[in-house]
Symmetry: C2
Subunit: 118 residues, 2 copies
DNA sequence: AAAACCTATTTGCAATGTGAAAATAGTTGA
DNA sequence: TCAACTATTTTCACATTGCAAATAGGTTTT
């Protein structure tokens, strides 16, 4: 493939993995994803809505998700997001990265405790 | 205390905790810290020197570390950093945050695996 | 002795991402 | 009607980053 985009796994992009996971479990629109993120036991802080919407748009452009506009019977129009095959593949790579990150944090704590019990 | 600075625990500031830990173990100057970070088993990626130097200067201003200029017998002058009491206290708070973060990552992986074995 | 290299820190610049707030807009309930 | 809720987008100022270059002392190689 000629133009594979560069994959960024920096931990400040963790929100991407979280969105992909939630979307894999169930397609949603932005507003609902914000609530699901705030309810999830794997997120830390309240997320700023603008950040979520911006990530979703970016991920749409990068074809990690696809979206279509829904003008339902009630409420304002909303954009329904679904994860793509490419997004699922990226999510699976994210889990490897997250396992690593978890190990690194464990090593940090180990070093800290070793130093403080001696 | 009247002007406690706001503490940021966002994971992209993890570098701060890493620097504080290394400095608590042993005072160092920037150049050495870059090497120690790259050797440590709790860091992920290669760090950009500019980032390290900038964080050290910021932490100096915030009195998490203190520094003094060393004109040793060999090599160019260098700034020797030592962690302060305030820096040690912050590091201890960081460990709590890192434990939480580790838990959140574990929860993420649990949710992922639960979804993929059903 | 000049050239190249290592140690050591700082600064400039463009790019990226964020939070906060406001703009937009449809729907529902009092 | 007015307020509240749902839903998304955009603007602005600010923080931070990576990369590169500038600066500079010291050591090693040719």
């Amino acid at each position: 493939m000629s133009h594979l985009q560069k994959i960024t796994f920096s931990s400040d992009r963790l929100i991407e993995a979280q969105l992909l996971l939630l979307l894999q479990i169930k397609s949603s629109h932005g507003y609902e994803l914000i609530q699901r993120l705030n309810d999830a036991d794997f997120t830390i802080e309240e997320v700023d809505p603008a950040t979520i919407y911006r990530h979703l748009r970016r991920m749409d452009k990068e074809e990690l998700v696809k979206s279509h506009w829904e003008t339902g019977p009630s409420g304002p129009g909303r954009r329904l997001y679904t994860v793509t095959k490419s997004g699922e593949e990226l999510l699976s790579q994210w889990t490897i990265n997250i396992k690593q990150q978890k190990e690194k944090l464990a090593n940090f704590l180990k070093t800290y405790e070793q130093y403080h019990n001696s």
